[in-house]
């Protein structure tokens, strides 16, 4: 059992290292000293990734295991979720209106 866990952690660690190598060119970012590896320092890919996930963006949190949540916790979470959905829906509508307005003025 322990061996299996160790093996899984080892695989995970290996995967992380591969990802770091691909993205950051061996874990050495600019300014870390020494000439970088010209093959793995794929700056164009880095730029592309940064565009997808700009610095500072907080990814969605993991969904909690709702089977373990109490009734009160679910009620509270639902209130939060609905408030956010309401905000986002109305914000989307506002943005769409503005988008139409801008596109409309462009075509004039």
């Amino acid at each position: 059992m322990a061996g299996s866990l160790e093996s899984r952690l080892g695989n995970l660690e290996e995967l992380c290292i591969i990802i770091i190598i691909i993205i950051l060119g061996g874990g050495r970012g600019p300014g870390h000293g020494g000439p970088s590896d010209s093959v793995t320092a794929d700056t164009s890919r880095m730029e592309a990734l940064r565009r997808i996930l700009p610095p500072g963006v907080i990814p969605d949190p993991f969904s909690p295991d709702i089977a373990r949540l109490s009734l009160e916790a679910i009620e509270a979470r639902l209130l939060q979720v609905n408030a956010e959905l309401t905000r986002l829906r109305s914000h989307e509508a506002e943005l769409n209106t503005r988008l139409k307005e801008l596109r409309g003025s462009k075509t004039k």
Binding site: S90, E94, E101
Partner: protein, 553 residues
């Protein structure tokens, strides 16, 4: 008798939206050669007592619009009598017309009640008092005879409204208002017999036509004078139902629109009307919009077909949705009355009403306000509830229980949660009503809303509606599945919903403050030299005085 011996009347009431009822009375008594003036009602009797002592009018007439205000009016009249006032005190308005016995019983300082349409009754009352004749025989009044209240025969209504002098507005300076806003009446009466409404019984009592129309030319001439001579720019049509009586009414409305355009008022003024949603026809509305119509108030009342049938509205909910689309297509603002609960509501009907509100105004075109039906004096509903033994409360503040006790709990929770939002002048509902009204106003020489500003207001309104409807839906689901004696509206889940709603309201109100601030900064970019009016032109369009909004429902 007043100092110069011309019999005089002091008319007291709310001055909201010009109070045309009082102004028609004033012009009628002046036309008959009497003196008169209007004074704003105040709950504090002192200013009224002081004025009465100074003027010593022959008659003091109170305009009692709101049934629940009767005790407050009684206190003022009591103070007048205690100060030695010997004027004849009479009371008029919808409620006293229907319930003169109760009014005269509870307000011993009053001498009489002028019932239903009062112009000619008040004039005759003054004529008789002026001549020192007995006044008890005046048609249309109620008065005491010993312990009994005598109801004199009613006088027939005036068939031709054009015979009435125009409302006396001599003391109003519209040019000093930020948005000069005048009230106009194009017609009186409504043929519909909705169970919760006393308008039809009010006019039906005196016989005659259920809706009388002024001539379009007379209406337009009044507007022309108000605009060119007194500076009015916004007109609030106070007609009970501007579009009632089908094709005839549409032709009449279109004639008014044509008259406005022909009089050179197009582009210079804006106006608002009230009607039912099944009377919103595109062609007529488009013509009215061309003449300056920017806002429509609709008596929607219910969004469920059975709920509408319970109210005897004689229409389907789909008509509301169609009307909303017509008005959106014409870029008009609208708002509406909505009774989420009525005495025959079921949980299913309430659920459908919530879903209806979502589909009707979930986009935030206007704010969703909601209340419950009250069985006011003179309404068929009151008669019906009395027959069923369901009337509770007092004559001045009627009440009832719902057929399903769970709905009583739901209503109590709703009141607790949405009281500030729906029934106070600073609540989100009222603030957004004003903003949405302003957002689609189009007047010359004024800073009108930009599309992006309108979109922002609409976004905030959509949020406001979304949060409220979610809370209503969640509370109803909870109450439906909870035994009635376990429903705690001040604790547990329902309390959490209340807190949640109030937090959302606070956040949105704070954001509206930001809208205000942003608009203030934008003033510097305005090309017009005109002072940009502050938000809230619609405040003047309320049918209630600010201090009464909280309790009006």
């Amino acid at each position: 008798m007043s100092a110069d011996s011309t019999p005089s009347v002091l008319l007291i009431g709310y001055q909201d939206q010009d109070n045309l009822g009082l102004r028609y009375l004033l012009s009628s008594v002046r036309q008959a050669g009497f003196a008169g003036r209007i004074e704003t009602y105040t709950a504090d009797p002192e200013p009224i007592v002081a004025l009465a002592e100074r003027l010593r009018p022959d008659v003091i007439g109170f305009s009692l619009i709101f049934q629940y205000m009767s005790p407050a009016f009684a206190r003022v009249i009591e103070a007048l009598r205690a100060a030695g006032c010997r004027s004849h005190v009479t009371i008029g308005g919808h409620y006293p017309s229907f319930d003169p016995e109760e009014v005269l019983h509870r307000i011993p300082g009053a001498n009489s009640v002028v019932r239903f349409e009062g112009e000619r009754t008040l004039v005759e009352l003054m004529q008789r008092l002026g001549r020192g004749e007995g006044w008890r025989g005046v048609a249309g009044i109620a008065h005491r005879h010993g312990d009994e209240v005598v109801l004199n025969p009613l006088r027939p209504v005036l068939d031709d409204l054009d015979l009435l002098p125009l409302p006396d507005r001599s003391d109003i300076d519209y040019r000093r208002q930020e948005l000069p806003m005048a009230s106009v009446l194009g017609s009186r009466g409504c043929p519909w017999d909705c169970s919760f409404c006393s308008i039809r019984p009010f006019y039906e009592a005196q016989g005659g036509k259920l809706r009388r129309l002024r001539s379009p030319a007379a209406v337009v001439e009044e507007m022309r004078q108000l605009h060119f001579e007194q500076g009015a720019e916004m007109f609030l049509f106070q007609d009970d139902d501007f579009m009632a009586t089908g094709r005839r009414a549409r032709r009449w409305a279109e004639d008014i629109a044509s008259g406005i355009i022909a009089a050179g008022l197009k582009g210079r003024i804006a106006f608002k009307i009230s009607c039912r949603s099944d009377e919103v026809h595109y062609d007529t509305m488009a013509r009215l919009a061309e003449a300056g119509l920017t806002h429509v108030y609709m008596g929607v009342e219910n969004g469920d077909d059975q709920g509408l049938a319970n109210m005897n509205k004689r229409m389907k909910a789909s008509a509301h949705l169609e009307a909303g689309e017509v008005l959106r297509s014409l870029d008009m603002s609208f708002d509406f009355g909505f009774m989420l609960l009525e005495p025959y509501s079921t949980i299913e009907i309430v659920r459908n009403n919530i879903a209806f509100l979502d589909s009707y105004v979930g986009d935030g075109w206007t704010v969703a306000g909601f209340c419950r039906t009250l069985p006011y004096a003179g309404t068929p509903l009151k008669t019906q509830l009395e027959a069923e033994g369901r009337m509770l409360g007092t004559p001045f503040e009627p009440d009832y229980n719902f057929l399903d006790p769970k709905l009583d709990r739901f209503y109590d929770w709703m009141l607790l949660t949405f009281y500030e939002r729906n029934f106070t002048n600073s609540g989100l509902n009222e603030v957004l009503r004003r903003l949405n009204f302003d957002a689609r106003l189009k007047l010359p020489n004024r800073r009108n809303f930009r599309p992006s500003e309108r979109a922002k207001v609409q976004r905030i309104t959509a949020e406001c509606n979304g949060h409220a409807l979610y809370c209503l839906r969640s509370a109803l689901d909870y109450i439906e599945t909870t035994p009635v004696d376990e429903i705690d509206i001040r604790g547990g889940y329902l309390a959490k919903l209340t807190v949640h709603e109030k937090m959302q309201e606070r956040r949105l109100l704070a954001e509206l403050g930001a809208v205000d601030a942003a608009r203030f900064e934008w003033r510097q970019f305005l090309e017009s030299d005109q002072e940009f009016r502050s938000l809230g032109g619609f405040a003047n369009a309320w049918t209630l005085a600010p201090q009464d909004l909280p309790v009006a429902g």
